[in-house]
Symmetry: C3
Subunit: 314 residues, 3 copies
């Protein structure tokens, strides 16, 4: 087996060597996609169930495209149209889905720790965490790392600023864990109400409440989505104030390094996290993140399920 654990629950559990192999394999898959090799039958006969308990565009579709491009069958299980409305527990839903013998179960859930909880009971399938509460979103951090490496020689030694609602962001947590593991320096920035006490001590990311300080000499600026649906607006007085203090503008971007890139996990709130045009600027690699997401998930499925490492063996 490729991973030490049977499941991919978070960046927390991945050694840096494993991360490097995943990123390298993903680049190979992207090359194959770009050269017109549109289908790779490596996972023919395998079944991937996407169990999503929260709405999602990118992650679910990305896993579905990745699975199908590898010849696997992809089954969507949406909580809203399912037995959840009949009061079934997560454990029982998980065991039921496992009993259909899927090779991989991609789980997105609003509760932090849901994939880890389910992994205690499901030992006949591979659980991939597709985002759990405010805990982790490991495939997002992996595709982000892949995208950074398209523009920077190495993750080691670079300076990454993560800006926004740190407290409620699984993307921030997975990225801090991965980037620090690979030798990057990470600053997190946001209003004091949206950065948890002790974050610096626990995660080793420098905390600042001032956007200019966060951007100073940054190689990468990673803006987070302001997740209005997860929070009461009591965290700060108004969107307008948030946008003025923490929104990215052309002018503020000059504080970062000359060739710095701007990232965002999407979906974007134009006019909140960004000046409306910033998302389309030359520093933006936001759509590359999405494209890389498909290749990255192909690599991950292939490495977890394939007999050989990488795509060479197919």
């Amino acid at each position: 087996m490729f991973l030490k654990s049977q499941h991919l629950l978070g960046i927390r559990d991945l050694p840096s060597e494993t991360i490097s192999i995943i990123l390298k394999t993903a680049v190979e898959f992207r090359k194959a996609l770009e050269s017109g090799i549109k289908k790779n039958p490596k996972l023919n006969g395998k079944t991937v169930i996407n169990a999503f308990f929260e709405p999602s565009t990118r992650t679910r579709s990305s896993f579905e495209v990745a699975a199908k491009k590898l010849g696997a069958d992809s089954i969507n299980f949406n909580a809203s149209t399912s037995s959840i409305s009949k009061g079934e527990s997560l454990k029982d839903t998980g065991l039921t889905l496992q009993a259909m013998r899927p090779d991989v179960l991609v789980l997105r859930h609003p509760h932090s720790g849901a994939p880890a909880y389910l992994s205690r009971y499901c030992n006949k399938t591979h659980i991939i965490n597709g985002g759990d509460g405010i805990n982790e979103h490991p495939t997002q951090a992996l595709l982000d790392a892949m995208t950074i490496l398209d523009h920077k020689k190495s993750l080691t030694g670079i300076l990454v600023a993560i800006v926004g609602d740190i407290a409620h962001s699984r993307v921030a947590r997975s990225n801090v864990l991965l980037l620090r593991k690979m030798g990057a320096t990470v600053r997190v920035c946001g209003p004091p109400t949206l950065i948890p006490d002790g974050f610096e001590m626990i995660y080793g990311a420098k905390v600042t409440f001032n956007l200019s300080k966060a951007l100073k000499d940054a190689d990468v600026v990673m803006m987070l989505r302001t997740q209005w649906e997860r929070q009461n607006e009591v965290y700060f007085p108004s969107i307008r104030e948030y946008s003025r203090l923490f929104g990215l503008t052309e002018k503020k971007m000059k504080i970062a390094k000359r060739n710095a890139i701007v990232m965002h996990p999407g979906p974007i709130n134009r006019g909140v996290e960004f000046d409306p045009q910033m998302a389309d600027g030359h520093y933006s690699v936001i759509l590359d993140q999405v494209s890389n997401g498909v290749a990255l998930r192909m690599a991950l499925l292939s490495l977890i399920l394939g007999k050989e490492e990488g795509i060479k063996g197919s």
Copy 2:
């Protein structure tokens, strides 16, 4: 054609010989799945439309996995995102779906008799009843029989206790019909308000309102889901009282035969039908039911659509 009728509307229409062939073929498919033969191209080019007018985890996903493992295309049609919201009649929706030339139309509908009604108009496809109102759920009864036969030598002569909301349960009706056809003795048990008058006369199952009497010497205990969403709570005073009188406990289970098995069609309401731990106990075959469901539906699709009987000819 394998079935006498073009459609599978209920256990009511199936001769016992046909049931035996389906069960035997399902066991062959399960063996193939277990031995790692993950895909069988037998139904390559066939199309299965899953038309579900009620929420479902198990049945829809199970049919989808089964169809895909046989190489068929599977199309999901969910009533909530469909033209039903534009006021189209069931007949017109059915004829429209048929006009797209699916080979099989799996229909789940809240109205008893909906598949039978549609079968009068759709003679160019095979309708499989995926559960209709309180009438029948034939594939559930078939997978239940398959699961019983994993533990008991024969259905003939065994004693099965079905416990719960008999009145609103299509699972109970299909199981009583199948089990009696195959020579089993069936007792149904529940509060008097949840067993219809005349059930004993119509279905030939012994009725009792006392759980201990129902369990006495039973080979199989089949618990039903308390379908709170289908009923007003006026049927009995409280869930607590229901659970105390009709919920299964370790202690009550001792009344049944020593090697009796416990079944449940899912989704489970832990703490209502069962002591919370009962569903995980050694007598529980609940997850086997789910696994068998995939193999059973593969067998059914294969027998209905394949030129040869069984999987040998592929």
Copy 3:
């Protein structure tokens, strides 16, 4: 490339020669389907994303069946379960979907012009308009033309009456454009409140408010769905009055030509646009429209994505 433009935004942009090739290719695909050739691997490895921002039975399922019968992967993106609920703009959703490298993006959207708007930004995929607001529904008009040609020698010179809510109907607009382009004469008929001022001048279809005048000597009677969900009922006093004045009956049908056919894009409101039985009468070709829809969309996907024209090259 088969189409001059990379996208299929409307009938407006299609030369009559292109329309003829699509219709001819669709007939070939239908023949193949009818002769039992159920799968054509021509588009193996291609990906079609169905992005539907409105409920739909026919169009989405039809595209999905068509894509799968050609061996392509089909991914469904439903607005209700997606990031739209997180406030993402159409442009950003479109660019995100494009970044996953689909070969075709089928777009249905409640806003007129949405596909044209998105086409300005998406130049790495083919957008097919699956119906946009009250503007166009080009694949519907193409399958309607295909169905008419099953019964009439040519579109040139025939007389088509389109009856109903012309103002809110993209089906009417696409059909008028196609039929006039191919040499047919078109009459539109409905209550004065449901035919926009200037329709005759802009679209070249003769306007009448009297059903009998519209039907006089018609070769084809195309009834539209009364789209109650799109309009306030202030357009006319009551459904009953609408039905009495503009609903089709056996008696009124006698005014049309002897061998006239009756069409409807579905879903049908029985008892409103029709006498309840009219939709099943011998003149009705409504279900043929649905069947032709699959073949037509196979032809379109194949012509847009295939290297060779038609199905011969496969």
